[in-house]
């Protein structure tokens, strides 16, 4: 039982790292909390759902499609909202409210178009087989999601440390003004980073069916709070730290569900409040801002 909980917790944790990493990337680059993050996860889930049920497209291939769709969406949203917000008198608070409005719009449009129903992709899409570690059996879809999460983390790492765009992104994360002075096209790089943030959210959405059972239009707010708890746990503004936050969250939720299941839905909220009050800089790494 204990072994099973730990292993499931690690797999869930890696998935939840994936859920939070897009939010953290956008926060790191723009110092804005994308309160519509959960709704972009939901959009990713609905994209995968329709492509699967209409054309039988395997969720793994949907990743490629969502990369294109959400990159454009991200760049468009960036240029519509962000430069204007940055010029206002209180960008942090106003962007928070604005993205909240955006999340309401997305949720309402999806409910009006498709109804407020639970949607799911059958869990045997990747075959009926199971796999076992140390004698504990898990569905094969968990293994696939875990591998996807790890591949995504490697890709994000590679982007940050081995591409020109990644260097520029990290420079902006360190100091927006200084990057501007040293000739980086801050708007273009940030827009691209915003797009990547949304892509990461949508990938988490595509696999939400296998880790969370079902997707529904109003799942966004809850996911945003969970993602926020995860990135605060890891370290705000440090995307790679999200993985640690995700792992802690995944393990904690698995132990709660195993040993104290009726109270487990309280966990993300209590965790969030506790970390913000007692260790606002996150459990690891350097302080990016003391809340």
């Amino acid at each position: 039982m204990f072994e099973y909980t730990v292993l499931a917790g690690i797999m869930y944790g890696l998935y939840f790292g994936l859920v939070g990493i897009g939010l953290n990337l956008i926060f790191g680059v723009m110092r804005m909390i994308n309160l519509a993050h959960g709704d972009f996860i939901m959009l990713g889930a609905f994209l995968a759902y329709w492509l699967f049920h209409l054309f039988g497209i395997n969720p793994l291939f949907v990743i490629a499609i969502s990369c294109v769709v959400f990159l454009f969406l991200g760049i468009a949203f960036y240029y519509i909202f962000v430069p204007r917000l940055l010029k206002s008198k209180d960008p942090e608070m106003l962007s928070f409210i604005l993205f909240f409005g955006l999340s309401q719009v997305i949720e309402a449009i999806i409910i009006l178009s498709f109804g407020n129903n639970q949607r799911s992709i059958p869990s045997n899409t990747f075959g009926h087989s199971t796999f076992s570690i140390f004698g504990n059996r898990f569905p094969i879809s968990w293994l696939i999601v875990t591998i996807v999460a790890i591949v995504v983390f490697i890709a994000v790492y590679w982007y940050f440390y081995h591409t020109k765009l990644g260097y520029a992104t990290r420079a902006i994360m360190a100091s927006r003004d200084e990057s501007l002075v040293s000739g980086i096209n801050v708007n273009r790089v940030s827009a691209f980073a915003f797009g990547i943030g949304l892509i990461l959210a949508s990938i988490a959405g595509i696999f939400s069916f296998f880790m969370m059972g079902a997707a529904y239009p109003s799942m966004g707010t809850n996911l945003t709070v969970i993602s926020f708890a995860i990135i605060v746990l890891g370290s705000l503004g440090n995307p790679m730290g999200t993985i640690i936050g995700g792992l802690i969250y995944g393990l904690a939720i698995m132990f709660m569900q195993t040993y104290l299941s009726s109270w487990s839905n309280l966990l993300p909220y209590l965790l969030l409040i506790a970390v913000m009050l007692f260790k606002p800089e996150g459990l690891i790494g350097k302080t990016v801002r003391s809340a």
């Binding site: 909390i33 928070f96 913000m276």
Partner: protein, 306 residues
Amino acid sequence: MLKKRIGSFGIILIIALIFIFLPFVYNNQSFLFNMMLYIALAEGLNIIYGFTGYLPFGYVGFFGAGAYSASLAILFLHFPPLLSIFIGGMGALLVGVVLMPLLKLSGAYFAIANLAASQALYYIVANPNLESITHGPYGISLASVYNPHASYYTMLAVLVLSMIIVLFIRTSNFGLSLLAIKEDRITASLAGVNVAKARAIAWGLSAFIAGLSGASFAWYVSVFYPGTVFSLNISVIVIVFALFGGIGTIAGPLVGSLILYSFYNFIGISTPQYFQLLYGILIIVLVLFLPDGITSILQKRKIYVP
């Protein structure tokens, strides 16, 4: 100052008279009740958000805490309804005191932590393990004390109280010290404002108003579920109403609620998503073009908005 106070007091009096006599000519009492409820909540939110800049995203937590404290006082202690409503306000105040450390956080962090706190409260109240106390997810029935007329006028009293508190804050030195905190906490404390005490008072008043409103709501509807009184939509709608009218004034949240709730009643009842879509768009447009609400149009022309 005195002249402004008398002018604002006139507005409160007019609103009170309207809601006293309107039920005799307009028979949709539940619409009027909800209108008063949202004005009171918008003014309550205004106390903390409008004057100190802390955005309480989990404002509904106080509302629900008030509804539940009052209901439990009626069901278990057999208190009369009016006393129970006061208990509801005190229950919300207690939650406010417990959450006071959150005020150390700033800006969006406070908003998210407050949101998390209200959700945590919801999951505690709705937990089936506490069925013997809170009736868990099965809801509360106050059929034994059901009295729509008495609860209607109780709500009116809460509404008037909320507006008088905002009137007092708006036209007093206390209000000025709150505005100083909103501008810059450190400068405010250097200028001699007791920051911790002032914002704690504003926070407590704000919680108290939401608690009283929640308790009156519980008495008025008399049957409700945890999901009804802890619905995040209440926070959201109240924030939008206050923002739309313009925070930091008495008139702003009042005008915002009057316009938008009428509108909501007109289009939103059958398919609430149309209203959700509308207020989502409204938030975006407001933030981009009119961040201080519609009353700021007057203020820009140097017209005093009470």
